[in-house]
Structures are given as structure tokens and as C-alpha cells.
Symmetry: D2
Subunit: 112 residues, 4 copies
Amino acid sequence: MSSEILDRLAETLEGRKTADPRSSYVAKLYAKGLDAILKKVAEEAAETIMAAKDGVREKIIYETADLWFHSLILLAQQGIHPDEILNELARREGLSGLVEKASRGQSGKEAA
Amino acid sequence: MSSEILDRLAETLEGRKTADPRSSYVAKLYAKGLDAILKKVAEEAAETIMAAKDGVREKIIYETADLWFHSLILLAQQGIHPDEILNELARREGLSGLVEKASRGQSGKEAA
Amino acid sequence: MSSEILDRLAETLEGRKTADPRSSYVAKLYAKGLDAILKKVAEEAAETIMAAKDGVREKIIYETADLWFHSLILLAQQGIHPDEILNELARREGLSGLVEKASRGQSGKEAA
Amino acid sequence: MSSEILDRLAETLEGRKTADPRSSYVAKLYAKGLDAILKKVAEEAAETIMAAKDGVREKIIYETADLWFHSLILLAQQGIHPDEILNELARREGLSGLVEKASRGQSGKEAA
């Protein structure tokens, strides 16, 4: 399921690049340019931190979703597909045993 | 593919909670507590921003992976599965048309 | 000169606490509460970082002024005078030789 | 008093530019370069935010001092004197009434 969400978000964000800036939040953010996107990434990181300090589960979920969403906008703006991030996370797994290989079964030597 | 990566990461990060703090980077970070995790989230957000300003594709991928990785650690520490973030993103799609309907031909109302 | 600026800013920011939220930017920010102020601190820190990456002197000055200004608003909201920050910086000087004692003349043993 | 602290800090930070990187924290940070300094600015902004969420007065003072200290290092590295920041704050006062006129009885128009 989750892969679909990220894929569909990536596809939508790609489509927003050619949209009228007045037609959507994302199209407007693209039009404002890189610094505006990065400012939102910083803002959402701060809100995630504040939500975690408040210890309110719903807020943490909401703000982390906002943080991921705006980092996906950054990726789209830079022509990077979210799979490249997931591949990087998987690559680290291979190198460092960050994640247990599902195929590894019970062996589980890990360093992360 | 991507869903597997997030699921496996979540599973591994869950397992680290009972690991010896000296045995891994993540176990050590848990032991340091919430503020240490949040400090890393802030740091990785800043590094993502700097990578984007440098405009170096590989650095943006690397730092965004770091940002997602540390937000996954935060989620694990708070007992939140990454699917809850993806569900929140999907929910917004339903509510606001954030993401184009896969079956977009049929509905296609969007606001994002 | 500089001490006057910080003192006068602190005095003004104190006065804004009892002002009508519609009367000024600062009064409005107080009314929104702590999280709104902290969000601005994060935002201005990010803008300072982006200005430094751009390497544009005027922007660095402008954004650092914004960062200091919003941290002064935070201090005022918390009932902390900027002199307490300056005293802390001076205290470190005493402890660690962070700053050369003016009175130390040419001796200048330092660790910062 | 306060102006002396900022002036003396600026002077010390200037002196660190030619110091052996192994001789002090600041000299080491210069040697690491701009990104390392900016990462510290982001980190200290995050710690200030967390301290404010904790509501612990001493921590807010300590972390704000750290934030100002690292922004002073950034300024020094960029060849900017803290007076330029204070002048910018004073300039805004003149333009926008950000700060109450010292001779407030006479004028007192303010917008900040």
C-alpha cells in the first residue's frame, strides 16, 4: 500500500509543475522557487519537533506527514523520485546491515 | 518495493529498542532520549537544505534519506508506524484532492 | 551604541505585551502564542543559513537581524532580558577564556 | 555593558581565524568550513526551541546564548561585525518604528 501512496504523490507533484500557480498550493510553491520550498521544509521540521515535545500523537503524525510532503515537493522540484531515497535507505542496509534482510530470515547480523 | 523498505526499516528500528545501546547507532540514540533524536531531525533538515542550495543531486538524495531515517527513528520511539504517516497523506488526498485519484478519469477533483 | 539598541528593543518588546494584537506585528505574534514565536525562530534560522549559502552579504545581515529580533521576542515572552544572554556569554568568558578580558591587556590566554 | 560583550566576542572570534585549529573550539569550526558553522546554527536554534518547550528558564538562556554565539561565529567567518546587525535593527526602528523612539514622548508612532 505505502509504495502506492509515495508513487502517486510523486506523480501528482510532477504534474503540478506545469499547472497554473493559482490552481493549487503546490503549483504556487514551485512558482515561488527553491528557497520557499526549503523554508517550508525547515518550518515543518520545527513543527515536528514541537509536536514531539508536546507528546501529542496526532500532532506528531500530522506534522511528520507535512515534513515528508514538503520534502517530496523538494524532490519533485529537483527531478528526484522518492524511490531514489528509498533505494539509498536500502543501499545502506546492504552496506551496513541497517535493515535486516527480509530474506535473511533469523540470521540478523546488524549494525544500525 | 518502496513499502517493503519502510516496513523493514520500521521493524528494524522497533527491534533496536531492546538492543544494547553500545550495539548500534540507533540503540545509542534511543538511550540518549527524545531531545537527542529531535536534534538529529533538525540537523538533517538543515543538511538537506544546504545540499539543495549546493544543487548537488547525490547530496540531496543522501541528506533526504538521512532526514527520513531520523524521522523514522522518532516515529519508532513514539510507537508510531510509518504507515500512519502514509495514511495521513492518503487521507488528505481523499479530503482535499492532494493526490490525484489513481482513477483520475472518473473523479479528478484536486486542490493540492 | 549596541547596548542601547538591545535595551531599547527589549523595552519596546516588553511594551508590546499589553498592546492590541491588531496594533503591531509583535503584539500579534504574542497573541498567537509560544509555538508561533518558535516557528519564526526556526524559519529565520533557515533563512540565515540560506543567505549564507548564497553568500550575499546584505542578505546575511538582514536575516541574522531577523533571527536575533525573533529570539528577542522569545526572550521577552519568557520574561528574560537580553542582558541575561550577554551575561551568560560573559560568564563563559570568565570560565573558559572565551573572550579575552579587556582588563587582561596583552596576556590573552584563551581556550574558546 | 552589553555592547562591550559583543565587541569583545567579535574581536576574539576575529583572532581565532589565524589560530591553530587544534587550539580552540572556534578555530576548529572555522577549519571545518561554512557548512559546519551553519549546521551548528541550525542545531542551536533547535535546542533553543526545545528549551522553550520545556519552559526551563536557565536552559532558554543557555541555548539562546549558544545560538547567538554561533551566529557571531558565522558573522566573523563572513567578515561581518555584530554592529552591522545592530545597525540593521536600528535602521528598521527608524523606518518602521520597530523600536520606540528614545524620545518617545515627542513622536511615538510605532508599527512593530
